[in-house]
Amino acid sequence: MERTPTDTPEHPVFYAGRFSEEISGAGLPGDHTVLSDWDVLPAQLASALEPASILVVLDIFSFPFESLTGDLVDVPLILLLPTGYDADFLVTVFGKAAFSRLGFFDRVAAADDDLWDEVRRRYDFAQGQLVEVEDGRPEYAAVEISAALEAESVLYAPSREGDYEANRYWSERGDALAGNAPHRAICSVNHGPKFNKAIHRVQEKVLNPQIAAARGIQAEEVPFDVLEIGAGVGRWAASFDPAKTRFTGVDISEGMVEAARKNFPQCRFDLLGEDSVLPYGDESFDLSFSVTVMHHNPTPTKRALISEMWRVTRPGGRLMFLEDFVSGGWFTTSTVYPMSVNEFVGLLFEATAGQVVLEHVESIRYQHDDFTRGGLLSVSKLGVAGTW
């Protein structure tokens, strides 16, 4: 669906349910909307959520989660865990309807650390998906959540000394956002959380089947070694089954690496040096991939990164690139080096000496943008294994 800019900017929407009187009287700061249980009847839900940048569900008992379908799933959620209930009960009642539909861009607000730990463990949530609140009662939690969202929404202004220089820009940006809003470091810092979740969902729909295809050629009991270049806060680690995968991510930003380690302590995250040399041995991974990283870097860096990815991937393993292959880069603050798919294939040839075959190509269309097109390219590495 084509979205045209509206006059009303997006803002947090709070679903107060049975507590709408208390929430309305709580004096929440900033722009917001408060919805009662009448406002979320199926016929009204879509229009009620139209201005939502985030939906904060303060009363999970009365919210119609099953009505969140279609475009409404793009709205990031924050679910407040009610006090006085244990994890078993909440999981039994809300597991299927609510918790299992939460993705990396959705969060949980909880006053009880133990409750959070239990829910987090059961659903493999990242630590960064927690919104800490002191008081779990809806009217007090709402104020705390609102303040936290306000703090996160401060615009990030990159230092513009000189021209865009990829390594410096992305490490500065990552470090700046890592402290209070690491989620915003993903996708686009100039757009709201809904934009970023929507982009992620489009990418996920294309990437997950290819990850499964790459995994599929391997025996079940053999761990799947995966490497992501430009892993950020680790959003893609959530797409892999931790029981069967050894996930490693590298990033140029120290802040992002730290945030990723907190999010996924069972995974490995390393800092990537400016020389683009990956700190891993040859043929260490079954799958190496990057998501919207290459198109932010100049050609020599692209070539170096691809070459390194090839080096550390096992023969028969996959290299995957989910990048923009139709883009502009025409405005002065652009961080994009436009490259067409043919140019990228040429680069892939140079960097791998042609020792790859094509496994999958898929173009990606983003709803918000007429011109930008992404694409997923998946190749297999040729060659005989050098190490056992």
Binding site: H360, S363, D370
Partner: protein, 144 residues
Amino acid sequence: MPENEFYTPTDMDRLRMENELLAFEVRFLKARSGGQPEITGSPISLSRMTHLEEAETDLKLLLRRIQNSPLGPVARTNKSFQTLNERYLKQPDTALTMAPAQRTVYLEGAERDLVLLLRRLGSGPLGLYFRRRKSFRTLQERYL
């Protein structure tokens, strides 16, 4: 229908990039489906067209060789051979002036005629004679 369903690409580079991406994806999909664009109305692929053109050329070559061989006089009395001669050797330029759709039909006919001819020659009383010839076996391998 959404209000803003049209857009005009103003940047030629982006148009080129979009064309490249879509062409790349279509080629991959064809390769994955076995390269068989059997859907009615879909344009014939370049590789298929090349194959058909080569079949026509090889058919003409085969007919000429038969004509110029010791079997020529006998072949010329055969009605089927006369038909093929008429269609492919006596009017060589007609095909070049045909409209694309017509030309495709003509070339597909040439491929079928070549296959029939190879089968008949390979299995008839003179089958042994033909199958001894390397070029005949090459054609058999390619088209049968």
